[in-house]
Structure formats: structure tokens, C-alpha cells
Amino acid sequence: MPACEDQVLTLGALVDGELDAANSALVEAHVARCDGCREELERLQAVRNLLRIDGVRHRSPAGLQARIAALPELSARSSSDRSRMVRWLAPGIVGALAASLAMVAFVGPLQQQSALDSQLVSSHVRSLQPGHLTDVQTTNQHIVKPWFNGKIDFAPPVPELADQGFPLAGGRLDSIEGKTVAAIVYHRRLHTVNLFVWRGAAIGGRRPVEDGFAIDEWSEDGLNFAAVSDIPAQELRQFEGLYRSRAGLRPGAG
């Protein structure tokens, strides 16, 4: 005798402890009179007991959790180092050492920036995974630019650079330092250029190289820009110049 059709989901909810007391009582009363539902309930319990056998739940490989927990992306290492540095230097400040003040001002931003650089590179590398690169995939700037509307609170310029060998590939949202950023994707031959754009305190113009990836950073009109790619640094600089002039932004000096 099969279970009552209208009771099947309720029986599951009973097994799962998702019914309140009143409904549990109702179902239990029904089960007491209905063989089909009692049998169904027993089967549900039997399946559950089987699934509770040791080893059904996959155990993570030894060391994986520790390895992931130790990823630089999961630590605030740079900022904690920096605050330790400030604490360490405090007596020096009291001792009126201008040099240590200079160091605080100097070391802080430096570490912050290298943390930023490694995040940019990580994002770039992650974006190269299959399916990660673009949320809106098009070579049309008039599609990419409006796509960002409402997703971020600024409008990144999306100039067309195909005639200069940097065809537009699309755009996506990414996250840098906990902020949502626009990532505009250009291609260069077989390479990818990720241009991250976000609003924030100006980072100024820098051209670091992180893990072999060239980065080009500049700030303009309250926005920060960071182009990341594995193309040669000179080509990336060329990209920056083209982007800034086509975007109607002031080219050069960065």
C-alpha cells in the first residue's frame, strides 16, 4: 500500500524536524492509522540511517584546510605587520625621531601597495580560468559600458581600442580589497589585459611587476585604474596611454 500522495512531503518534513509541534502531532496521528505512510516513514528513516554510515561524508584531504587558511589572500598580513610596526616605533616617536615618522609614512603605503598588487595579480590569474573572464562578453563598448550601470556607483570609460591591437573582450565585476570593482577585459594577441577600475583614495601612478605580471596603476577623476597582464611592460604602458587618451582622460604622466 503506497503512502498517501498528499502526505509525502510532510513525512519528509517530519523526518527532517521541520514541522512545528502541532503539525508533527497531526502527521504522527495519521501515520498511526495509515500503513502506507508508516512504511514510507520507515523507508525515509532507513535511507537516513544508511547515509549516516561513517565515510559517506567525504573527508577533506589532510593539510588542505591548513594550506587554504594560510593563503595570503586569506590573511590581513600586510596590515597587521604594519600596525605592529607602528607599535614598535611608538617609543621612537616619543623620542622625537623624525626618521621613524618618515618610515611609518613610507613603509605603511608600501606594504599596502604590495598587498594591492598581489590581489590584482590574483584576480587577473583567476579571471583566466575557463568561464571566469567575463560576465558580459562582447566586443561592443556600447554594451559593456551600460552593463556596469547599477552594478557599481561609477561609470568606467570603455573606449574602443581594437584598431590599436587591443580588442575589447567584455567586462565583469570583481572584488579588490573588499570593494566591488569593474574589470574591463581587453585582448592583446593571445593575451588578456584586465583593467580594474574602482573608486577610492588615489593610489598614484606606479608600474610594479608582481610574480612576472606587469601592472600599470594610475588615478584619475577620483577613480583608480590598474591594468594587469602578462604582456611586456612597454606594451602595457602603450595600453595605458591609448586607454587614457581614448577615454577622454588626460594621457601620459602616470
Binding site: 500500500m1 532507513a46 567525504h58 609614512a105 575557463p130 573588499g178
Partner: protein, 202 residues
């Protein structure tokens, strides 16, 4: 002031810099095993699972600031699920994260795992093969049923949490669970005494 321009940023990162990482460790990392198990059943691929879980934790840490008033576990599992989707949507099974390359030690570990276990009592062997049968049965479920079953039966999420992870209404969660369980029952349980329909199948 020499560093007045930086002081705002400095204070901000001191308050939710290391503190943020600690909070993440306290609230999210405890769900690591669950995240792994979930990824493992979604991808059905041990190697891919490692990458997916790593990707998921990196993403989770980045958007950790934006989580408010929700089940951290459900939030994390939703990220794991997205990462599985992404990993599988591309060239299936070919994904490899490049930015963390502990691959050689991983490979060694995997080889060890595949080697015969040290002499173990017979009941241990029996239990292993039971678990193996169950793995296969669960993996054979179509994905919507599989994820509901894993989240409910193995990870013990509530209906509301499963709904949050899978993005469907609770009613759908209930019917998926029901369907999943009935498939598992047919695969794993002896045909029920009273059920003519199921006896005839056998």
C-alpha cells in the same frame, strides 16, 4: 602631519584588517569540511574539489565584509556551489588554479590515498565498501536532487538554508529531497514488502 593623508586608511585597515581575518577564521573556517564534502559531491571529482574549495574560500574572504545577518554556512555553501558551476562550465575537468602551486605535494598525497590502506580489520573493509556503494548512489542522483540530499542528510542544513544555497523556494527544496530520497530508497533498500509497484520492477 607627515602621514595625515594615510591615517584614515590606516585606522580602517587596523580595525577590519587582522580583526576581519580572525572573524573569518572563527565564523567561516569551521565549515571547511562541509564545504569540501559539498564540493566533492557536486563535482564528483576529488582533484577539482580541492581547487573549487580554495577558490570558494578566497572569494568568501573577499566578500566577507558584505555578509550580514545570514547563516555563514549557507552563504559559504552558495559560494562553493557557484565555484563548482564556474569550474565545470569551462572546459570540463580541465580547470587548474594557477596561483597556488602546491601541486607536487598534492599529487604525492593523492597517490598515498589511492594506495592500499594498511592492513585493516575486515569490518573496516566492509564499512568502506558500504560507504563506496553510497557514494556511487548519491553521485548517480541528478544534480538538483543530489545537492539537496547532500545539504540535508550529510550537512544537516535546514530547509531555509538549503533554499538559500540553491536559490529555490522551500517547497522546491522539499520536493527535491523527497524525489532524491525515493531514488536512493529504490537503489539501496530492499523492495518494500507491501509495494506491488516496486516488486514488479524487480
Amino acid at each position: 602631519m607627515l602621514f595625515s593623508g594615510r591615517s584614515g586608511r590606516g585606522t580602517a585597515s587596523a580595525s577590519h584588517g587582522p580583526g576581519r581575518a580572525n572573524e573569518f577564521r572563527r565564523l567561516v573556517l569551521p565549515h571547511f569540511d562541509g564545504a569540501y564534502n559539498f564540493a566533492r559531491y557536486l563535482t564528483r571529482d576529488p582533484v577539482l574539489s580541492d581547487d573549487v574549495v580554495q577558490d570558494a574560500f578566497v572569494r568568501a574572504f573577499r566578500s566577507f565584509d558584505q555578509v550580514r545577518g545570514t547563516s555563514y554556512r549557507a552563504w559559504l555553501f552558495a559560494i562553493v556551489r557557484n565555484c563548482c558551476r564556474t569550474a565545470q562550465s569551462g572546459s570540463s575537468g580541465k580547470l587548474r588554479l594557477v596561483h597556488e602551486s602546491a601541486l607536487s605535494s598534492d599529487d604525492a598525497r593523492r597517490v598515498e590515498e589511492q594506495a592500499d590502506p594498511a592492513p585493516s580489520p575486515e569490518d573496516e573493509l566492509v564499512r568502506r565498501s558500504d560507504a563506496e556503494t553510497l557514494h556511487q548512489a548519491i553521485e548517480a542522483l541528478p544534480e538538483p536532487f543530489r545537492e539537496a540530499i547532500v545539504l540535508r542528510e550529510l550537512e544537516e542544513l535546514s530547509y531555509a538554508e538549503i533554499a538559500q544555497v540553491t536559490g529555490v523556494p522551500i517547497g522546491t527544496v522539499m520536493s527535491r529531497l523527497s524525489r532524491g530520497r525515493s531514488i536512493l530508497a529504490q537503489l539501496l533498500l530492499p523492495p518494500s514488502e507491501n509495494s506491488d509497484a516496486e516488486r514488479s520492477v524487480k
